[in-house]
């Protein structure tokens, strides 16, 4: 009671309303193995920083008698009855609402549109690849670290080769992942091969990690006979059943509810696996993102939402995309645990995704990871980003913040890598791709619309072949019938 008299009444009232909400929040979370991270985030949201050190056990305030603020007491009997009937002799007035008990407050207080402190960003390696002291992270073996690094370099090289191919007119379209190699590879490394991936389109690194060869990437981009997609999709729309990577679709954010549906099914089948979906900052504006997050929380599905917040949605900067403090804060609005991570720190990404997977699978809960990064390349080969952002900004992120160089420094510090290994790796990658291959045959135009080809399509196919046979000169010679 001593500190009650020292602190002015209005501060107590402020704190009561916030603390009441905070204790409600604590109640609804149940067991939590990462509670220290959780508490930090919640306290930042609800209590002003200045009073933080003084309230080590905020719960004690609301339960003590005599702390109830003495405002105008209504004289009607109904109010008094309400107070008497509140269980546990608690003095605070509580509404028994279908969603749960809500603490009243006579203080009209709006929740601020922006937090007093921006949500913290988890990072483990500094810009020079040195481990930050007192960092907690999931340890990575030399083998895994070296594999991660080589995959990151392979991804960079792959991007350069195909980008150049598009510029030379050999493929029609390409999307690079420059600047986001750590997100791609580190997240893939932290998952198992049973985890089902629902990508947007800037995550070929996940497929690469799982074993998609450079030749297979090329087949899809060139739309040749060996393409698993039978030449039906634009370049970069990769997919692989075998590697649990769902085919890329051009529609934005539609993969997010798909992932939740698959996660729900995994839970029904009691599998030791989760669904993982990737999307950009722009994709979070879609209605599908909202519905999927909400649904995932309600159905308690084991799904990991990884948002690559790279600052740009084609030419739309994040300030024109949303006004929230990024994406991680939205998790709480849906009842989804979330974290903000430095997307260019491969070790931090690995740790976050590893922990997220553990929680998703064992606790049947969705997790949201906001990986903060920068889209160094253009949106795609149809875009010239120097038209809407300064070229020196792009250069700075490319050189000073390159996630690949940063991780390389760390593995070199550990003695796991050297310059010989580097040059060997870089020269071996280029030699892996062949180019000239046949186009898919004409009957691939008609198959797979349905499980079994219907009679009208069979007829159309027959008509087409007859037409080709009648006018062979009008038909390209290098396409098989």
């Amino acid at each position: 009671m001593a500190f009650y008299s020292k602190i002015p009444r209005n501060i107590i009232n402020n704190l009561k309303s916030k603390v009441g909400l905070w204790s409600l929040m604590k109640q609804s979370h149940g067991t939590c193995s990462y509670s220290s991270c959780l508490n930090t985030i919640h306290l930042h949201r609800f209590l002003p920083l200045t009073t933080l050190p003084q309230f080590t056990n905020p719960d004690s305030i609301s339960h003590k008698k005599g702390h109830f603020p003495h405002f105008q007491r209504f004289q009607s009997t109904t109010t008094e009855k309400q107070i008497d009937s509140v269980p546990n002799g608690e003095q605070s007035q509580v509404l028994d609402f279908p969603g749960g008990k809500v603490v009243f407050s006579p203080e009209m207080r709006f929740l601020s549109e922006s937090p007093s402190v921006y949500s913290q960003c988890y990072r483990v390696l500094d810009d020079n690849g040195q481990l930050i002291s007192h960092s907690n992270f999931v340890t990575v073996s030399e083998e895994v670290a070296v594999k991660m690094y080589s995959n990151m370099v392979t991804l960079q090289t792959l991007d350069t080769i195909f980008y150049e191919a598009q510029r030379q007119g050999r493929i029609s379209f390409y999307v690079t992942s420059i600047g986001e190699e750590a997100i791609n590879i580190a997240s893939a490394a932290a998952l198992t091969s049973d985890d089902i991936v629902f990508p947007q389109y800037r995550e070929p690194g996940v497929l690469l990690w799982r074993g998609f060869t450079l030749q297979e990437f090329a087949n899809q981009c060139f739309g040749n006979k060996a393409d698993y997609g039978k030449g039906r999709q634009m370049p970069i729309h990769y997919g692989s059943n075998k590697l649990n990577y769902f085919t890329v679709a051009s529609t934005i954010a539609t993969q997010i509810p798909h992932a939740v549906g698959a996660a729900y099914s995994l839970k029904m089948d009691k599998k030791d696996a989760c669904a993982v979906t990737y999307f950009g900052d722009g994709g979070t504006s879609e209605g599908d993102f909202h519905a999927a997050m909400n649904f995932a929380a309600v159905t308690e599905s084991p799904v990991i939402f990884i948002c690559r917040n790279n600052g740009w949605a084609i030419s739309t900067p994040t300030s024109d995309q949303f006004r929230s403090d990024g994406i991680a804060v939205r998790g709480q609005a849906y009842g989804v645990r979330s974290i903000r991570v430095d997307g260019n720190d491969a070790l931090a990404m690995y740790s976050a995704v590893h922990s997220a997977r553990h929680m998703a699978v064992n606790e049947h809960r969705p997790i949201l990871i906001e990986a903060v990064t920068y889209r160094v390349g253009h949106h795609s080969t149809s875009d010239d980003s120097t038209k809407y952002r300064p070229a020196n900004e792009i250069e700075w992120w490319r050189m000073a913040r390159d996630p690949v160089t940063r991780f390389r420094k760390w593995i070199e510090i550990n003695g796991w890598w050297g310059s010989e290994a580097e040059s060997q790796l870089r020269s071996s990658i280029r030699s892996q791709i062949a180019e000239r291959a046949e186009k898919p045959p004409v009957n691939d135009l008609f198959t797979d619309v349905y499980d079994n080809i219907p009679s009208n399509l069979r007829e159309q196919e027959k008509l087409l072949k007859e037409t080709i046979n009648r006018h062979p000169k009008d038909y390209p010679a290098d396409v098989p019938i």
């Binding site: 089902i196 549906g261 729900y264 099914s265 519905a291 159905t299 009679s455």
Partner: protein
């Protein structure tokens, strides 16, 4: 991975439910009556019990027993994991159901009416219909979208549109429109077992209607083929092709026409995509005249497609132009008298027209009291 698992599951489940149907055929028992609602409910129940991968999803399908009570009793029987009450987000739950179908389970998604499916249409078309093709057969989508379609009674413009033509225009989807209880049972079972995405268009006003069902229909392995129309009434003077509720209207009109000596053949389309062009063409080659009936808006509708098919394949057999009867080309009004005027109706009047083949169409038009007049003069 997915394809193989799906195939095996399908085969196994089909093997489980095949008692000797031929034994039942020899019985000519008195026909039982069954409402369309009971037919749908029993079909869902049997398919869910035969295949544990089938699950239901939609607004109010669980605790509320279904907005139109189609899913009554299923939550109690199969539990909340298999009968999922969803938040109000058609786009959300359709996306989620499609994701589950990608994984390999078989969702049956209920839209409270197909009008609300417009909020989810991106997932139906881009995520469900096109995926098998775009993934070159590696990702199949064994999903069923069902719910009431078309006009009900006094529900206004945003609850009364018919979406048969919209979905039937998209390759990759199968679109079914049952009329009777037999249709409802057989087609829903066929749709659930089908590995392709199916849009199943029911009708709210038919839910309570009772139809006779034979023992064969009541059998749990009963299934109707997708893509086959049924000739509900044989005739020789004119073909009337209709689907869903309009089949009932066409049959009533045929009865009235019979009194005037006009013998109409009524075709129940059952399947809008794939359309049973051969049955319709064969019928028109016999009768030489065609009237199509639908409740939907006339432009770019199912009647238009049927007309094109006949003109392309049986032009020489037509004795008169094809007549389309459709709903009025206006958003559905609410007032009862206006609503009645906006959809085809059957009016039982004695014919005042001379018995002349040239006037057969006028007969049927007036009997059906459609707004083809409004439509023809456009």
């Amino acid at each position: 991975m997915l394809g193989i698992v799906r195939q095996k599951m399908l085969e196994q489940s089909l093997k489980k439910i095949r008692p000797a149907v031929s034994v039942l055929r020899s019985y000519s028992s008195a026909a039982k009556q069954m409402t369309v609602r009971e037919a749908l409910n029993s079909a869902l129940d049997e398919e869910m019990s035969a295949d544990s991968k089938v699950f239901l999803m939609g607004e109010e399908v669980g605790e509320y027993q279904g907005a139109y009570k189609i899913t009554k009793g299923l939550l109690d029987k199969y539990g909340p994991e298999r009968v999922l009450d969803t938040p109000i987000t058609e786009a959300g739950f359709t996306g989620i159901a499609v994701g589950a179908a990608y994984y390999g389970v078989k969702p049956v998604v209920e839209f409270m009416t197909f009008n609300f499916s417009m909020q989810a249409i991106d997932h139906i078309i881009n995520s469900a219909a096109k995926t098998n093709y775009m993934s070159s057969g590696r990702i199949s989508v064994p999903i069923v979208f069902r719910g009431p379609n078309g006009a009900a009674a006094g529900v206004g413009a945003q609850h009364s549109q018919c979406y048969a033509a919209w979905y039937a225009s998209c390759p990759g989807l199968k679109v079914l429109a049952p009329y009777s209880s037999e249709d409802a049972r057989g087609l829903l079972k066929a749709g659930i077992r089908d590995p392709d995405p199916v849009v199943f268009l029911e009708n709210e006003l038919l839910y309570g209607e009772s139809f006779p069902v034979s023992d064969e229909v009541l059998d749990s392995s009963f299934c109707l083929p997708i893509g086959k129309a049924k000739i509900e009434r044989k005739g020789k003077d004119v073909t009337i092709a209709a689907y869903s509720k309009m089949v009932g209207y066409a049959l009533k009109a045929a009865e009235t026409l019979e009194k005037d000596g006009i013998d109409a053949e009524v075709i129940n389309l059952r399947s809008i995509r794939p359309l049973d062009r051969s049955t319709i063409n064969a019928s028109v080659r016999k009768t030489n005249r065609l009237v199509t009936v639908e409740e939907a808006f006339p432009q770019h509708g199912v009647g238009a497609e049927i007309c094109a098919s006949i003109v392309e394949e049986s032009f020489a057999y037509l004795d008169a132009p094809v007549e389309r009867i459709a709903g009025a080309d206006v958003p559905m009004p609410y007032a009862a008298n206006l609503e009645r005027m906006a959809v085809p109706q059957v009016i039982y009047h004695f014919s005042l027209f001379s018995y002349n083949y040239q006037y057969i169409y006028t007969h049927i038009c007036i009997y059906m009291h459609a707004n083809t007049h409004n439509f023809i003069h456009l």
